[in-house]
Every structure is written in structure tokens, then in C-alpha cells.
Assembly symmetry: C2
Homo-oligomer: 375 residues x 2
């Protein structure tokens, strides 16, 4: 049976690991590299699918197994005809496995070989996630790309803890692969773990490659470590992954991390950052971040970003958006969300062009001069 999701390589950068390609999915093609907006609870906060298509240009969105399992419950999504129909989004969707969310619950969860027992952050009710149950949930949700149930390490973790955790992640990946049935409709990606130890990263990648997933993610970096460590592990791990399959770096959404990810050979990234900081009143612009609450913008009749042609920047001033944010108006969140997601989409558009021109390193230097580093 043919995999639901396949990767087509279009161009490989001559100086770096960057690559330009297409991910084919049951809900259409994705031009890569791509940034995926996050729709945690079956909605990218404040936006309609039309906003995402027409104003943001989103090719694929991510949604959240943990959250949808708790509310409204995967049975309801399944009855609706799957996540696409439930939320009226006809382009590709990726669901994460809930692994990151349940491990982030801290005291509310316990891990054993079988799976994770956890208490809901909503009402304290008890639940268990296993590789098998997560596969069932993700099948019910019906995304094009589904993620294996993995164990995430805190940062920092000891070598031994990380090794045990990584090896369990491999065993769980194997169980996920066995449990996952409809491989012609959904593709299951494995997640490389191994923390900040290169030999463990290598072992994890090799073991998962042996399991022959149709795509691979890198998890457990961009979790609070210094940027040098992030880059070190990223640039070591990405080239370990097969060239003929999509490569996904989880949880990265700052412009400079996105560019670094692409340079290492990553095809897909996701992060709540652009939507979260929008709700907090912060815009990403081609000249760096703008914290719109600041008094300096009270009478600023410019758009958020003079170099941007998004819906928000075409129609509204900084002074108006500042007023909306200060007055706690929903429209302020919505306008900033559109802008931030458009900004990252546009950044990736430019990145794609620069890859094709074998010019991404120069682009990066020029971009950083104006935008500055995030971390």
C-alpha cells in the first residue's frame, strides 16, 4: 500500500543542507520548507479557515491530540467526519501525539513502559495514553500526518535518563507503527529524541529509520537550551534523516530558528509563538519585534510593518491596533495574528526562493541585520 504522504525533492542548496521540495498529502501538496500555524483546539485562535487561506496563505495547520481528546473528545470529531470537516479546513492537517503536552503536566502524570497516566488540566480527571490509544485517537481525528507517541526529556537531563527515555520512545514508535492501520490515508511520522547527546541522537535516528517511517521529526530541542546547543544538535541530527522523506522540527517559530532549521535541511516547523505573542500584543516585523502597547505607538499612523502587505498592514495603523489591544478588543488579537502568521509565511516564501538561488546564507545575514536575533 502506498504511503499517504510522500516527499519530492526539487532542489538541494549547493552550500548548505537546505532543500526545496513538495510534500504530497491526501489534502493537497505542501511547498517546503513550510511553517505550520498551530490550531490547538481545532481552530487557529481568532481566525477562520478563509483567513488562513486568503490572508495568511497557510498550506497546512497543526492540531493537538491531547486537547482534542479532552475536549470535545475524538469521538465527536470522528462523528463530524474528522477534523477537516469538523473545523471546515480542507487543506492538510498534522496532529501531534500529545506526548509533549502530557509530559509538560509535570506532577499530574506518571510514566511507565505501558504509557502515561495523567490528570486532565481541565478537571483533574484521570486518563491513560499509550502508543496504541494515541494511534486510535489520531486515526479518529483523521489528520494527514500523525505523530508517534514519544517521551520528551526535560532540559537538562542526565545521560542515563535521556538514554532510557529515548530507547522507550523507540519501543513506543514500534508499537505506534504496529497499531497504525490506514497508512494510505494518514502517514505516521517517527520522532527522534536523545536530548543533547549526539550518540543518543544517532542511535534514535538509526532505530527509527530501521522502522521505516514515511517521515521523521526532531523533538526535544528548542526546549530552553542556549542557542549554540540547539544549533549543535540540530545540525548534527538533521543530516542523519533520510533524504527522500519529510523532516519536521517540532516547536520552532522564531524567524532565526526557522532559518537555521532550514539551513540544516528541515522541511517543516510549527510553533504557537506567532499566535501567542499576537494575543499578547507583539508583532514580528521585518525590522524586529513591535510591542504595540508601548506609548511610542499612541500616535503612530504607520502600519505595523512598512514592508508588509498583509491585510492588517494594508488597512490599519499602529495607533488603531494599539487602541484595540489596550482596550482588550478581540479584533486587536485577530489583526496581530494575521500579521504574524503572514510574516512567517512570507519569510518561508523568501527562504524557498533563496534556496533555489543557492543564496540562503547571504539572505540570512541580511535578514539578521534588520531583524536581530531572537535569543
Amino acid at each position: 500500500m502506498k504511503d499517504a504522504v510522500t516527499y519530492e525533492l526539487l532542489h538541494k542548496c549547493k552550500q548548505t543542507g537546505a532543500r526545496r521540495g513538495i510534500i504530497h498529502t491526501p489534502h493537497g501538496d505542501i511547498q517546503t520548507p513550510v511553517f505550520m500555524p498551530v490550531g490547538t483546539q481545532a481552530t487557529v485562535k481568532s481566525l477562520t479557515p478563509e483567513d488562513l487561506k486568503n490572508e495568511v496563505g497557510a498550506q497546512i495547520i497543526l492540531s493537538n491530540t491531547y486537547h482534542l481528546y479532552l475536549r470535545p473528545g475524538q469521538n465527536i470529531v470522528k462523528e463530524a467526519g474528522g477534523l477537516h470537516k469538523f473545523m471546515n479546513w480542507d487543506r492538510p492537517i498534522l496532529t501531534d501525539s500529545g506526548g509533549f503536552q502530557v509530559f509538560s503536566l509535570g506532577d499530574l502524570r506518571t510514566i511507565n513502559e505501558e504509557g502515561v497516566e495523567f490528570k486532565s488540566h481541565l478537571d483533574g480527571s484521570k486518563h491513560v495514553f499509550t502508543p496504541e490509544s494515541v494511534m486510535k485517537i489520531e486515526e479518529d481525528l483523521g489528520a494527514d500526518i500523525i505523530m508517534a507517541f514519544d517521551e520528551c526529556c526535560p532540559y537538562p537531563s542526565t545521560y542515563e535518563y535521556t538514554k532510557n527515555s529515548m530507547e522507550r520512545t523507540t519501543r513506543w514508535a514500534e508499537r505506534c507503527k504496529k497499531a497504525h492501520k490506514n497508512i494510505d490515508k494518514q502517514s505516521l511520522f517517527g520522532i527522534v529524541q536523545g536530548g543533547f547527546y549526539k550518540d543518543l541522537r544517532k542511535q534514535s535516528a538509526q532505530e527509527l529509520i530501521d522502522l521505516n517511517f514515511p517521515g521523521y521529526a526532531i523533538g526535544g530541542i528548542s526546549v530552553g537550551e542556549p542557542k549554540e546547543e540547539f544549533l549543535d544538535i540540530l545540525n548534527y541530527t538533521t543530516p542523519l534523516l533520510p533524504e527522500n522523506k519529510p523532516r519536521y522540527l517540532m516547536g520552532v517559530g522564531t524567524p532565526d530558528y526557522l532559518i537555521e532549521a532550514v539551513l540544516s535541511g528541515i522541511d517543516m516547523c510549527d510553533c504557537v509563538l506567532p499566535t501567542r505573542i499576537a494575543r499578547n500584543g507583539t508583532a514580528m516585523t521585518w525590522n524586529g519585534k513591535v510591542v504595540i502597547r508601548n506609548a511610542t505607538y499612541e500616535r503612530d499612523w504607520n502600519p505595523l510593518d512598512n514592508e508588509c502587505d498583509c491585510y492588517t498592514c494594508r488597512n490599519y495603523t499602529r495607533a488603531y491596533i494599539r487602541h484595540l489591544v489596550k482596550a482588550n478588543e478581540i479584533l486587536g488579537i485577530r489583526l496581530l495574528t494575521i500579521h504574524n502568521l503572514y510574516f512567517l509565511t512570507k519569510l518561508m516564501e523568501k527562504v524557498k526562493i533563496e534556496i533555489e538561488k543557492d543564496n540562503l546564507l547571504t539572505f540570512k545575514e541580511e535578514f539578521y541585520k534588520k531583524y536581530g536575533y531572537e535569543k
Copy 2:
């Protein structure tokens, strides 16, 4: 100098006071009767101007002098080029005078002949509104229709209190008229007060008519009184107003009150109700109200309203909207806001057609059978 806003009567119902007309304004014509969505803080909560035009069909919106004076301040709106440019809305706008808001502040305000001293609900800072200062603020905001600064009575109030208050409202109306300069750009409407005493309503109407405003509003009803009293004062007062000028009933937004208002001869109504109950998870439908949080909608794959063709009803199920509302997602508010405003717009569309057919009484009976009474 010609008045900025004029009324054109198209058809008068043969059985009732209802009338079909056009209000001409500097920002375009308004087909009446009309319901005006409220954009308190220079935004109809959660919606863009495009939503209001394309999805709701709003012809005119109302905004709020008290709120805009406090935040961002009328100077900023003026610098932006007025409210239309500030919020990117090119159709007509009406600003209320802030009278209702400052009187609603209760202990935070004191009234004297000169005006009202009040404390901001935001930070407790002291301010004074006088007829003259309010005219200046409304001129700075630049709406097409501006309201005189009036005194609103609590319900119930004694005859003496109501008479004094109403007579002061007339004196303030006269001061507003003197203070208002640019009558070719903005039209100042007088507000008939007089509580629930017909002779006072008559006196108020007559005194304001003598001042020759280009339009008249009825204030101080729909303030918590029984429906019979509302109807009694409404049906007594509306016919007192000149036939050749727009008539505006303030603060009415339930479907049955809107229909009753139109039957009495009212042309314009506004209310926060449709947008406020949307944020609370309630939809108005042609078969009555739907409280979407209710468990009965958990697996309801119908649209909010089977008889509605709004954006929300064309694209989403009750089950999905319920999920959004229960998960506190902004999109839930937005979808319900679009639906409720569209519902009232559509209701007024039908009302206009029925007036032209001299059939509004029959329509009212049929509508009530399905929708039920609000109060």
C-alpha cells in the same frame, strides 16, 4: 446650509405607523428601517469592517463617545482623520453622546445644570461632560449622526424628577445645538425624554421640535419596564415626531421590540444585545434562541439555524460552535456575532419588504409564532 443627514420617505404602511425610507448621509444612504450594530470602542467586537459589510450587511454602525473619550481619546481619533479612517469603516457612523453611560455610572457621577462630573470606570480619574464639551468630542470623532447630551432617568422615577430631568435635557439640547457647528458634515439629533409620563413625552417632543433638529431619538424606554409600558410610551411618542425626519429608538435589539418599534414608525434602532449574547454563547434563530453550551448540541450536526444562510450557518455545525464556545475560543464569539447581526439585518430586510406590501402585522404574528416573545 443643508443638513448633512436627510430623510426620504418611500412608503407609509396603510394599517400601521411603519414606514420605509432612506436616510441620506455624507457616507452613503441607509435603507430604513435599520438595525445598527454597536462598535463601542471603535470596533464591533471581533469583526472587521469587511465582515460587517460582506457577511453582516451592516449599513451603519454606532460608536460610543464616553468610551472613545476615555480611550484612546478623541484627539487621537481626530488626528487619525476621524472615526471612519481610524477604524477603516467608510459607511455611516452614529455616535451617542455618552449621556446614557455617565448616568449609568451611579455613585461615580454628579449632575448639575452645567453638566455631569464623573469618575472614569477605568481608572477613577475625574472628568466633566457638558453639552458643549460633548459636541466638541463628537465633532472630533466625526460621525455622520451625533446625539445631543441628554439626561437619562432611572426606572422608575417620580413625575417631578422626570419633569426636571426632561426639562434640563431640553435646555442641554438647546446648548448642544448652539455649540454644534459643522451641520453640513454631521447632523445632530435631539433625544426625547419624559420617562413614562405621556404629558412629559409630549412636552419634550414639542420643545425639541421647536429647536428644529434634523432627526429625533426616543431615549429612556426599554430600560427595564414591563413590555406593556414600553409599548404604551413607544406608540404614544413616535407619532409625535416629524414625518420628514429620521426617528431613532435607542437601545432596542430584541426581535420583537424591533418589530414593535417599526410598527410605531421608528426608522433606526441599536443595541449591544446581539453582540453581547453572542459572546455569551447565545444565537438568535428563526425558531427562537439557541444557547449553544447546552449538552443537547454536543452532537448536533445542523447549522445554528437551518433557515439562515449567513457565513456561520453555511460553514459550521452547532457541535463545532459549541466546542469553540466551551473551549473559550475567540472564533466561537466571532461566528456567533456574525450570525446574530446577520439575523437582525435579515429580519429588517424582511420587515422592509413587508412594509412595502402593507403586510407587517401579519408578518409579526407569523414571526412570533416561531420565535416567541423575548420579554
